[in-house]
């Protein structure tokens, strides 16, 4: 049923000039599921996630998120994105950053939302400090707060565990668990096979722009994370 589908990717192609970065990629992710998007560097994971996040448009094919087009305003209001960059401003304070994104995401009381999330990520004591003075771990936690503050129904995470310190990982894992409990759909690209496969309900493997495998996460994958690459990826 259409209303059960969180993410629908239909025959998507993406070109850089004449070179296909994504070739005829099609898959579905049900609402409430967590998809681990795997693949080697340069396979097309980031390109696909950027299309899902609405940062770029596919050359051919269609992407629907929560039943609507990826670039629709209402869709973007319900999506949380955590990419390679942290997406917060160095010259603003932690509070100002979250309040800005709260405003952009249409929160009723952006200031209140900002304060709540600063408390949740342990940044309330430094809320008026400028981000450029923060440690790396603090910035990461603030970035996580930015991605989650509007309680998104769909989360798009590009290698979220890479370069996070322990505290930030703990915060993120807790937030992801809560998100899954409330039925949030998650698409996560990652190299950290073990962490991803523990969280994931479904798995997709991209290989040179093509979808090499898509299906439910199995016991074999959990017990032997390299199994997927050996059977469906390149030698």
């Amino acid at each position: 049923m259409a209303s059960e589908v969180g993410v629908a990717v239909d025959a998507v192609w993406k070109f850089y000039g004449d070179y296909p970065a994504l070739r005829d990629v099609s898959f579905k992710v049900n609402k409430g599921a967590c998809l681990a998007l795997l693949g080697r560097n340069g396979a097309g994971k980031t390109t696909l996630l950027r299309i899902l996040a609405g940062l770029t448009r596919p050359a051919r094919g269609r992407v629907t998120l929560l039943g609507e087009d990826a670039r629709a305003v209402e869709t973007r209001r319900r999506i949380g994105v955590l990419g390679h960059g942290i997406g917060i401003y160095d010259e603003l304070s932690a509070f100002e950053n979250l309040r800005l994104f709260g405003r952009l995401y249409g929160m009723e009381n952006p200031a209140k939302t900002a304060k709540e999330w600063l408390a949740r990520t342990g940044l309330d004591r430094v809320q008026d400090g400028l981000v450029r003075e923060f440690s790396r771990g603090m910035r990461q936690r603030l970035a996580v707060a930015r991605a989650f503050l509007h309680n998104p129904a769909l989360l798009l995470l590009d290698e979220p565990f890479t370069a996070l310190d322990d505290r930030a990982i703990a915060v993120l894992q807790q937030l992801l668990a809560e998100a899954r409990t409330r039925g949030c759909t998650i698409v996560m690209s990652t190299h950290q096979l073990r962490e991803a496969l523990e969280l994931a309900s479904d798995v997709a493997l991209i290989n040179r722009g093509r979808l090499a495998f898509t299906g439910e996460r199995s016991i074999e994958m959990l017990q032997d994370p390299g199994w997927l690459y050996r059977n469906y990826g390149e030698a």
């Binding site: 070109f15 850089y16 000039g17 004449d18 070179y19 340069g42 050359a59 040179r208």
Partner: protein
């Protein structure tokens, strides 16, 4: 097929041009006020018409790219812009030579030459931008924006400089200097337009083919690097 078309166009254009040059120099008399130099206007005016129209036609092809998302339209648009730029430079140079003879100076900030100079600056910027963008679809999108803004701007520039020169009169580059060209003298302007347009088209076809080959090479290079 395309090569044959290019060669045919170029050869016919050169033949017609040669014939026109013969007519212009042997059969058209000197103009009363300007003397022999006015003949350069038979190349100056058609070049100006070709380049000006070219910029707008290029804009139309750029908009087609936006609609169809097919890079071949972008290749055509870029080729037309480049060739139009070349003709705009010809316009400027021939106008300048005319000015040197008639006004005694190489440059006198005449309204039309000034406008053409600005056109050349704008579309040189267009070509520089194309060289600076690596990703072909991004290059095409940016080129479209620049093409549309460029056409809007050169229209405003043209009128603004005309109004400026009305308030601050200066030398005017005119075919009709001295009050009216005799009937037989205007025709070669339009007759010369035909071979110049053919030459323009031949150059555009050559340039478009280069762009297509470049796309192929880029794609092959990317494929090679991905292994």
């Amino acid at each position: 097929m395309r090569s044959k078309l290019i060669v045919t166009l170029a050869v016919v254009a050169c033949l017609v041009l040669a014939w026109n040059i013969r007519t212009i120099f042997l059969h058209v008399p000197d103009e009363a006020n300007q003397g022999a130099i006015f003949r350069i206007l038979y190349f100056h005016v058609p070049s100006a018409m070709t380049s000006f129209c070219g910029f707008f036609v290029a804009m139309a092809f750029s908009l087609m790219y936006l609609y169809k998302q097919d890079l071949k339209y972008d290749s055509i648009a870029a080729s037309i812009t480049e060739v139009s730029l070349a003709f705009a430079i010809v316009t400027l140079v021939t106008g300048s030579i005319w000015g040197r003879i008639i006004w005694g100076v190489w440059w006198a900030w005449d309204a039309r030459l000034t406008s053409y100079f600005i056109c050349i600056l704008i579309y040189s910027g267009y070509l520089m931008l194309r060289r600076a963008v690596d990703e072909p679809n991004q290059r095409a999108r940016f080129s479209t924006v620049l093409s549309v803004l460029g056409c809007a701007d050169i229209t405003i520039v043209w009128k603004s400089i005309e109004w400026f020169r009305t308030q601050h009169p200066g030398p005017v580059l005119s075919v009709r200097n001295g009050g009216g060209m005799a009937p037989g003298m205007e025709a070669p302007v339009y007759i010369n337009l035909i071979p110049l347009l053919m030459l323009c088209l031949a150059l555009i076809l050559v340039r478009t083919r280069q762009e297509d080959l470049r796309h192929e090479v880029d794609a092959l290079r990317r494929t090679a690097h991905s292994f």
